[in-house]
Amino acid sequence: MNPIATVFRRELKGYFATPVAYVFIVIFLILAGSLTFYFGGFYERGQADLSAFFIYHPWLYLFLVPAIAMRLWAEERKSGTIELLLTLPITMFQAVLAKFLAAWAFVGIALALTFPIWITVNYLGDPDNGVIFTGYVGSFLMAGAFLAIGSCLSAATRNQVVAFILTVVACFLLLLAGFPLVLGFFQTILPQGVVDAISGLSLYAHFDAISKGVLDLRDIVYFVLTIGAWLYATAIVIDLKKAD
C-alpha cells in the first residue's frame, strides 16, 4: 500500500482511539449550532440560506483547529516516535502530507456532521444549494489552511500548549488582515497597492468570497498555495529541529 495512505489511515484512526475526537466533534457541533441560531439569528433573518452558519466558521476554527493541529508534530517529537516515523522508508514530504491530510479529513468529518442544518434549511425554505455547497468548500479550505499553519508551528516545539497559542495568534493575524476595520486603518497610512496586498493575503477575504457562492479559481489557488507553503515550511522546520 502507498505509504501516504498507510500513515493517513493510522493517523485518522488515532484520532478516534481516544475520547478527544468525540469531545471535539461534539463541541464543534454545539458551537456551530448555537452560534448560528443565537448569534446568527438563523430564524429571525427569515432567509433560506446558511450565511448565518458559515459566517462564524473562521472564529470557530480559530480555537478548534489549533487544538487539532497542536499535537501533529509536537507529540511525535515528545514521544520520540518522530524518529521511528522518519526512519521508515518514507520521505519527509510523504510523512508531512499524510499527517496533514488525516487531520484535515478529521475536521472534514466534523464539518460533514453539520449536515442536519443543510436539511433544515431545505425543509424550511428553498435555498440556493449551490451557494451552500461552495460555503462548505470554503469552510473546508479555510480549515485546511489553519491546519497547515498549525502543522508548521507544531513542528517548531515539543510543547503542545505553545504550539496551540502560536497557531491561534498566527491564524488570528491572517484572519484580521482581511477585515474592513483593519484595512480601513491601513488605508489611512499606506498606498492602495499595499492595502490590496494585505487584503489579498488574508484568509478571510478568500473565504468570504467562496462562501458567498463565488467559486473563483484564484481563491482556490490561494488556499492551495497557502497550504502547500506552510506544509513545505513544516518539512523545513522538522529538519531543523530534529536534533533537539
Partner: protein
C-alpha cells in the same frame, strides 16, 4: 555492510561526533560502548538516516544514507533509544502499520507478523494498548518493529536498557540467534553485554572513536590481563608464598574481602608458578582464578580523559 567515512555531526561549536570511520561485515555484532553523551546515539541516528551528517557519510548495504535514503532505510531495522511507539495502538495494529509502510503484503505479511510475534512472545498482549504495557513488553514491541521486515542490517540503540535480568537474557539470546547472517550494531553501557553478544567492540568518547577490537583483545589491554586472583584462609602465608614467584610484578590485597591479586611482569604467565608456590608452601586457598582482564577497567582507562562535555 555498514560503512561510515569520517562521519561528523556538529551542533554549533559542539562536535558531537568527530570523524568516525568504521566498517561492519555480515555476521558481526558490533557493540558501541561509551559514556553517556559520547556520541553513540548520534552516530546511530545518522546511520539510520534520521539525522543528516555535517560532513562525511554512511552507507548501508551500499546505499548512501543521504543520497539514497529510501533504499538505505529499507535495508535496515532501527530501534531508537527508549523504543518509542504509538501508545494508543495495540501491538498488533502497530506491527501491521509498520508492515504496511514497509510494503510487506500478502502471505509474507502474515508470515512475518507471526514470526516476530512468536519470537518476541507478544501473543499475550496483542490486543492491549501499548501505553498500558510494561517496560519490557514495550521494548519487545520496539524490537519486533525493527526486525519485522527481516532486514540485513539492524541498529539497536540500548536494546536492553531498563529490562530485568530475565528479559535482558531473552533479548541477548534473540540477538545471538539473528547474528549469523546479519549485521547488528548495538549500543550499550553495560559491559557484560559486550561479552554476551558482541563479536567486536568500538569505544567512543567525546565523539571520537578510541578503540576498535574484539572484546577479548580489549581485555588484554587491561592491567588485570593474565593476573591471578585468589582467596586464602591465611592471607599472610599466601602473601609470603607469592613473594617467591619471580615473575610477579606486584601484589594487591582487596581491603574488604582480602582477595589477593598478583600481577605478572610484562609478557609473563604466572598461573602455574603461583599454584605451584601455593602448594609447596601448603597454603590453603578457597578460590584461585586466572583473570582474563576487566573490560570496565579498560573502558575507564580509555574514556576517562575524554569525559568533558559532549551530548547524547
Amino acid at each position: 555492510m555498514i560503512e561510515t567515512t569520517q562521519l561528523t555531526k556538529r551542533y554549533g561549536n559542539l562536535t558531537a561526533v568527530d570523524g568516525i570511520s568504521f566498517k561492519v561485515e555480515p555476521g558481526q555484532v558490533l557493540g558501541f560502548l561509551g559514556p553517556n553523551g559520547a556520541g553513540k546515539s548520534t552516530t546511530m541516528k545518522m546511520i539510520a538516516g534520521f539525522l543528516a551528517p555535517t560532513s562525511g557519510g554512511a552507507k548501508v548495504c551500499g546505499y548512501d544514507v543521504e543520497s539514497q535514503p529510501i533504499e538505505a532505510k529499507r535495508s535496515l531495522g532501527y530501534l531508537p533509544e527508549g523504543a518509542p511507539s504509538y501508545g494508543e495502538m495495540t501491538p498488533r495494529a502497530f506491527l501491521e502499520f509498520i508492515a504496511d509502510v514497509r510494503g510487506i503484503a500478502g502471505d509474507a505479511r502474515k508470515r512475518r507478523l507471526d514470526d516476530v510475534i512468536g519470537r518476541l512472545q507478544l501473543e499475550g498482549v496483542l490486543a492491549q494498548p501499548i501505553d498500558t504495557l510494561s517496560k519490557g513488553f514495550k521494548r519487545r514491541v520496539g524490537l519486533a518493529q525493527a526486525i519485522l521486515h527481516d532486514p540485513p542490517v539492524l541498529i539497536l540503540d540500548e536494546p536492553t536498557d531498563g529490562l530485568d535480568p530475565n528479559q535482558k537474557h531473552e533479548v541477548r539470546a534473540l540477538i545471538n540467534a539473528m547474528s549469523h547472517d546479519k549485521i547488528i550494531v548495538i549500543s550499550t553501557h553495560i559491559l557484560e553485554e559486550v561479552h554476551a553478544v558482541c563479536t567486536r567492540a568500538v569505544i567512543i568518547a567525546g565523539g571520537k572513536l578510541l578503540a576498535d577490537a574484539t572484546p577479548a583483545e580489549l581485555e588484554t589491554r587491561s592491567r588485570y590481563h593474565g593476573a591471578v586472583s585468589l582467596t586464602a584462609t591465611n592471607t599472610g602465608e599466601a602473601r609470603a608464598a607469592l613473594a617467591r614467584v619471580a615473575d610477579i610484578e606486584s601484589i594487591e590485597i582487596d581491603p574488604q574481602d582480602h582477595r589477593i591479586t598478583a600481577f605478572p611482569k610484562k609478557g609473563r604467565a604466572i598461573f602455574v608458578a603461583v599454584s605451584d608456590a601455593l602448594k609447596a608452601q601448603n597454603v590453603t586457598v578457597s578460590e584461585l582464578a586466572l583473570e582474563a582482564g576487566r573490560l570496565d577497567e579498560v573502558f575507564r582507562t580509555i574514556t576517562q580523559p575524554q569525559i568533558k562535555g559532549g551530548r547524547a
